[in-house]
């Protein structure tokens, strides 16, 4: 329709972590402005870690994000370990895997059930669902609590995990604790099945929108990569080592955003559960593959709204892996291990696929173990350009919707990415001039 003016100035959209604005100005068929803006206050984390001792760095960077504090902690510790030539033990790695999976589960449940589900059920938040869909809410809370308790018991605290240290743990779980974690996740598989069924019943409400883009994630020869892996792009045949991450990320400043943007082989690329699924679907556990089939998700999927569905698939995966790792630790016995190592100068990169995508921490240390340079690239940084590109393609397709519905669809698009906006505005890039 010619002559219709559309003005959407959606400031600080709700049900996303951090502050983002959607701006759409259309005059008839003319698209004047389509913008995904980040006005979030930057916190300058690099000025916090530079000059600090190696033993403090991960405790500081953990505070970049409340939801993925565990992911930041591990990416940070992996970078420090790479810089100082430390190889962690199998026990340490398995415990980190459990904690990483627990965070994955906790974050995805929060996102799917508390942030996305209200849109699919036509309400403003999860609170009214306590009355209308009490069983579903209690199920979500049960899973969320299981994941958080697992984080508390392995990491000491679910937000900003205390026990996680460079090269080990300040305290180890007891045998009984691991048994309870394993058994709790076995029980949870039933709940996850119910959740998948419920999501499936609502899947038709997700917009049917496709835009092929580049998908970036970690990849691993033997399993669906989260804690460990090398970098894979759907556009490139060869894998890229984490230490060469800058070839992939290419950060730059955009005027619309206090967070930096990235690009690789196209103008934008996506990270996150859908990207991981597209890149590594075959390495999921059998149970998770079954859930994907049940939910009608197959690789490659180019509908960004399906990121939430991919997250449900990953929930099943994380639960199964938690059972596996707990059992391994029980079979092998928990041993006290010495965390000591020789401090030395060096540069190292740690890459972890956290709930929202691939996270890179890059540190350089001097001989005394003081951090002298730091750079971080956050998953959501890597999604901002893709969100922008998606919006530019989506808006013309939905411009005839009533204003409210158009606004909601755009919000749903942003929410689908599960953005962690305050993370992405940490802004870290300190190189000596």
């Amino acid at each position: 329709m010619t002559g219709k003016t559309i003005r959407i100035d959606n400031t600080h959209i709700s049900r996303v972590e951090g502050h983002g604005n959607i701006v759409v100005h259309m005059e008839g068929d003319r698209l004047d402005r389509v913008e995904w803006q980040i006005p979030e206050a930057p916190r300058f984390f690099e000025s916090m870690v530079v000059g600090r001792d190696w033993s403090e760095v991960s405790r500081i960077t953990s505070r970049i994000c409340g939801i993925c504090s565990i992911g930041h902690t591990f990416a940070s510790q992996k970078a420090t370990e790479a810089a100082m030539g430390i190889t962690i033990t199998e026990q340490t790695r398995r415990l980190r895997e459990i904690l990483n999976h627990a965070e994955n589960l906790q974050s995805h449940i929060l996102h799917v059930c508390y942030l996305v589900l209200p849109d699919l059920l036509g309400v403003g938040s999860v609170l009214p669902l306590i009355e209308t869909h009490r069983d579903v809410v209690l199920l979500a809370i049960r899973l969320h609590r299981l994941a958080n308790e697992t984080c508390d018991r392995i990491g000491g605290r679910t937000t900003h995990p205390i026990r996680a240290c460079v090269n080990g743990w300040s305290m180890l779980p007891r045998k009984k604790t691991l048994e309870e974690i394993r058994d709790g996740h076995v029980e949870a598989l039933e709940d996850l099945k119910t959740l998948a069924e419920f999501v499936q019943s609502l899947a038709h409400k997700l917009p049917d929108f496709e835009r092929e883009t580049e998908y970036v994630s970690l990849t691993h020869p033997r399993e669906y990569a989260l804690y460990d892996g090398v970098i894979k792009s759907s556009d490139v045949a060869d894998f890229i080592q984490p230490r060469d991450y800058e070839r992939v990320t290419n950060e730059y400043v955009d005027d619309r955003s206090t967070a930096k943007w990235t690009r690789f082989n196209r103008d934008a690329y996506a990270v996150g559960a859908l990207a991981r699924f597209n890149n590594n679907r075959d390495r999921l556990s059998d149970g998770a593959k079954a859930v994907a089939g049940q939910l009608g998700l197959s690789a490659p999927c180019h509908n960004p709204f399906m990121n939430s569905v991919a997250q449900v698939v990953e929930c099943a995966f994380s639960a199964e892996k938690t059972i596996e790792h707990s059992q391994w630790l029980l079979d092998n016995g928990i041993k006290e291990e010495d965390r000591g190592f020789a401090v030395r100068e060096g540069r190292g990169v740690g890459a972890v696929d956290v709930p929202r995508g691939t996270l890179f921490h890059d540190y350089t240390y001097d001989g005394k173990g003081k951090c002298v340079e730091a750079n971080l690239v956050i998953p959501t940084n890597q999604n901002h350009a893709n969100i922008q590109a998606d919006m530019e393609d989506l808006v013309p397709l939905i411009k005839d919707m009533p204003g409210e519905k158009m606004n909601l669809t755009l919000e749903m698009l942003v929410r689908a990415y599960d953005p962690c906006i305050s993370c992405s505005t940490h802004c870290v890039d300190l190189r000596s001039a």
Partner: protein
């Protein structure tokens, strides 16, 4: 308050980990929304409101435009509560202040783009440095139990009470082995209890996220740390990880 208090949550420069603790109340969320009316909580709901009985603020103030938003919230709120270390004391966000030259900090981060208008920043301030705050909930992140205690107290119309004594008291009643006896150091003797000594209980020395107690014996703390072979540089760094004493350079 005879009707349910209207409660809202806002965030500034933060990691949102403190607001996450509300979601982490799990089943107690249901009890909480029976007690109070959550009328605005951007992270979790779309609805907004014009007036609030209690506004919880997470995060520090790092830009002029944030001040305006905070002042507006203060005007529309009965009680204003700082939620977490970033809001209560400035938290880790004040490490940026310690570094000194803010222009250099901005150059370091954004390079040649450092002075583009949307990338402004100033020395981090706690919420209480901009508007009057009715209560401080400390911690990085907050303790969920303490949060509920505060809400219950306000709902009953009384003042919440939190400890003014050091973390050591909680370590002792929990029968933790003192970290100083295990060759580590800990700021427990000068930091506010109320977290259940969670970090020492997990084998890591207190970092001071809940802020310094009134009349803390800072001199004795420095002496004790020096007796445990920390250099003055290390002692200073411990004290300014979370702002236990401030070195503010505008």
């Amino acid at each position: 308050m005879s009707t349910k208090p209207k409660v809202a949550f806002f965030d500034f420069a933060s990691c949102e980990g403190c607001q996450l603790q509300i979601a982490n109340l799990e089943e107690e969320i249901i009890g909480l929304v029976d007690l109070v009316d959550v009328v605005e909580f951007r992270e979790v709901m779309t609805e907004k409101a014009l007036r609030y009985d209690i506004a919880f603020i997470e995060g520090s103030i790092t830009r002029e435009k944030d001040e305006a938003r905070l002042l507006d919230i203060r005007k529309r709120s009965g009680l204003l509560v700082a939620l977490g270390a970033c809001a209560a004391t400035g938290g880790l966000n004040k490490l940026k202040n310690v570094r000194g030259n803010l222009q250099q900090v901005r150059r370091d981060v954004y390079g040649s783009d450092w002075d583009r208008p949307h990338l402004e920043t100033y020395a981090t301030r706690a919420v209480g440095e901009i508007v009057p705050v009715d209560f401080q909930i400390h911690g990085c992140p907050i303790s969920r139990d303490e949060f509920l205690h505060v809400v219950e107290a306000f709902a009953l119309g009384t003042n919440p009470e939190i400890p003014d004594y050091p973390v050591c008291a909680e370590c002792k009643t929990k029968e933790n082995v003192c970290l100083f006896h295990m060759g580590q150091t800990c700021l427990g003797p000068v930091v506010r209890a109320g977290c259940g000594a969670i970090c020492p209980s997990n084998g890591v020395g207190c970092e001071g996220c809940r802020g310094i107690i009134p009349h803390a014996n800072q001199n004795a703390m420095k002496d004790v740390l020096a007796e445990h072979n920390l250099t003055v540089e290390q002692i200073t760094e411990k004290f300014n990880l979370f702002p236990l004493y401030l070195e503010v350079t505008p």
